[in-house]
């Protein structure tokens, strides 16, 4: 493991021009998660610059910005997936319920903070085995039966009715949109408190996309959701708050309605109206 960490250089309540945590909603209540003054490096390249952002419980936060702006890098720090990369380094603090996740057991953190990736990536196993994999390695099958967890997770991912008769068939036998919902069901099977999604609909058609979006709106009753998307309309449709990243900096974070109707920063407006660059 080559990732190293350093303590935050500044108190995380401090605001700086580069850490634009402007959301009044995000700060109105104690956040479920909070990133404070996060800097992240790939080798000598600084990919994130002093990013501070709070995620309110049971809300959907969308992260938008051009390719290479750091939004996915930031998302991947929220459950420490970036630690699997060599020669990376993070500074700052990321808390879950007030506790710094950078000091916690990484397996436990990834159970509490699930992740869904851009392309559906089911295991080369049956639908059933995909779902029970997480609960099994987390010792959850002692309390609840596997069949129970599978049904509950697939129902939460709005996939149960479509696959209930082929649970023991290969996960590769279902459509791309269904595979992505299977991946969401797999993430939900371990009852995460936070769900991170990295462009989850970019490989899906509009119908499958709509199903995922409907699903997210329902899922936020049960967990806190952070979604990276290149689809502005998707952010506008599903997110309660939206953060705009540019060149590794959080430029603006506010209620989604505000971001898409009357953003405070010129850079945000230029990007969402297509005048960027």
């Amino acid at each position: 493991m080559s990732t190293s960490r350093t303590a935050p250089s500044q108190p995380h309540t401090q605001m700086s021009p580069t850490s634009t945590e402007s959301s009044s909603t995000a700060q109105a209540t104690t956040p479920k998660m909070r990133a404070s003054n996060v800097n992240f490096y790939y080798g000598s390249f600084k990919a994130l610059h002093d990013v501070s952002l709070s995620f309110e419980a049971n809300k959907v936060t969308a992260l938008i910005g051009p390719s290479g702006c750091g939004k996915s890098t930031f998302l991947r720090n929220l459950n420490r997936i970036n630690e699997t990369l060599r020669d990376t380094r993070i500074e700052g603090e990321i808390t879950l319920d007030g506790e710094n996740i950078l000091d916690k057991d990484v397996t436990e953190i990834r159970r509490r903070i699930g992740m869904v990736f851009q392309r559906p990536n089911p295991f080369p196993k049956s639908i059933f085995e995909n779902i029970v994999y997480g609960p099994k390695i987390n010792g959850m099958l002692k309390k609840t039966s596997a069949a129970e967890i599978v049904e509950k997770s697939l129902r939460r991912a709005a996939l149960w009715d479509e696959v209930k008769d082929k649970l023991h068939e290969s996960a590769y036998a279902i459509s791309g949109g269904q595979q992505q919902r299977l991946c969401i069901a797999r993430a939900l099977a371990v009852d995460p408190e936070v769900l991170l999604l990295d462009e989850p609909c970019s490989a899906l058609d509009p119908i499958a996309t709509a199903k995922i979006e409907d699903l997210l709106v329902g899922l936020k009753q049960q967990c806190t959701i952070v979604i990276v998307t290149h689809n502005m309309q998707q952010a506008a449709r599903v997110a309660d708050t939206t953060g705009f990243f540019l060149l590794g900096k959080l430029i603006e974070h506010d209620k989604t309605d505000v971001i898409f109707k009357n953003p405070a920063k010129r850079e945000t407006e230029d990007y969402i109206t297509g005048r960027f660059g």
């Binding site: 502005m232 309309q233 506008a236 898409f260 109707k261 009357n262 953003p263 945000t268 407006e269 969402i272 109206t273 297509g274 005048r275």
Partner: protein, 221 residues
């Protein structure tokens, strides 16, 4: 300029052209009223169909932009405002027609026994129309706020005219048909001012993203 920006420019230019046409109609209707100018009155009647055509064209351009671009932020505000201003301009054009129709009717009639002076309300209304369009063209919220402050003065003028004409009708019922024309003209001018106020409020939303409708003038700032 990228293609979608050209589409926004076309909508903006068409709306400005319509605004100019409507401003001329209002000016000509006022001129025909004050100076009893029949030629200007007929020009207003002729221009009405062009204004109506432009209303349809602008709605179509705006709908196409929504479908193709799904605008957000200032682009969204612009399209929303364009649709609303379009409606207000078309109504101003209709009201200018009302003014000249009544003016033409009055031209063949003997004057009222007491002169009804429309100059003050006409000047105020015309300046509000020009001000609101100027604010739109320049994207200037300050000019727009200036327009909002004139609305009360127009209402006062209209009330004064109404009071005067009602007195005339009570004193001499034979004047009622002609007096009603005066009341309708005053009412039409006041309504034009209301639409200019709407345009000014829309400009403030366009420029600043804030909604100042249904607030006292002082709070609008």
């Amino acid at each position: 300029m990228r293609p979608f920006e050209e589409d926004f420019k076309l909508l903006n230019d068409t709306l400005q052209e319509m605004g100019s046409l409507v401003a001329h109609s209002v000016h000509k209707s006022v001129f025909s009223l004050i100076d009893r100018n029949e030629d200007y009155a007929h020009q207003v009647l002729r221009d009405e169909s062009r204004i109506d055509q432009m209303e349809v064209q602008i709605d179509d351009l705006a709908a196409s932009l929504i479908v193709r671009e799904q605008p957000v932020a200032r682009d969204m505000r612009f399209v929303v405002v364009a649709i609303k201003i379009n409606t207000d301009l078309e109504r101003m054009g209709d009201l200018a027609v009302n003014v000249v129709e009544r003016t033409l009717g009055m031209m063949g009639q003997p004057p009222l026994p007491e002169m009804v002076d429309f100059r003050e309300i006409a000047n105020l209304v015309e300046s509000m129309v020009l001000g609101s369009l100027d604010a739109f063209v320049k994207r200037d919220a300050q000019i727009a706020r200036g327009v909002l402050t004139s609305d009360d003065a127009v209402d006062k003028c209209r009330n004064a005219i109404q009071h005067q004409v009602m007195n005339l009708m009570q004193r001499d019922p034979s004047t009622i048909p002609r007096a009603v024309d005066h009341l309708i003209i005053a009412r039409s001018l006041e309504r034009i001012a209301d639409h200019a106020t709407n345009v000014a409020e829309d400009v403030i939303f366009l420029v600043q993203g804030i909604d100042v409708r249904h607030q006292a003038t002082g709070e609008a700032a």
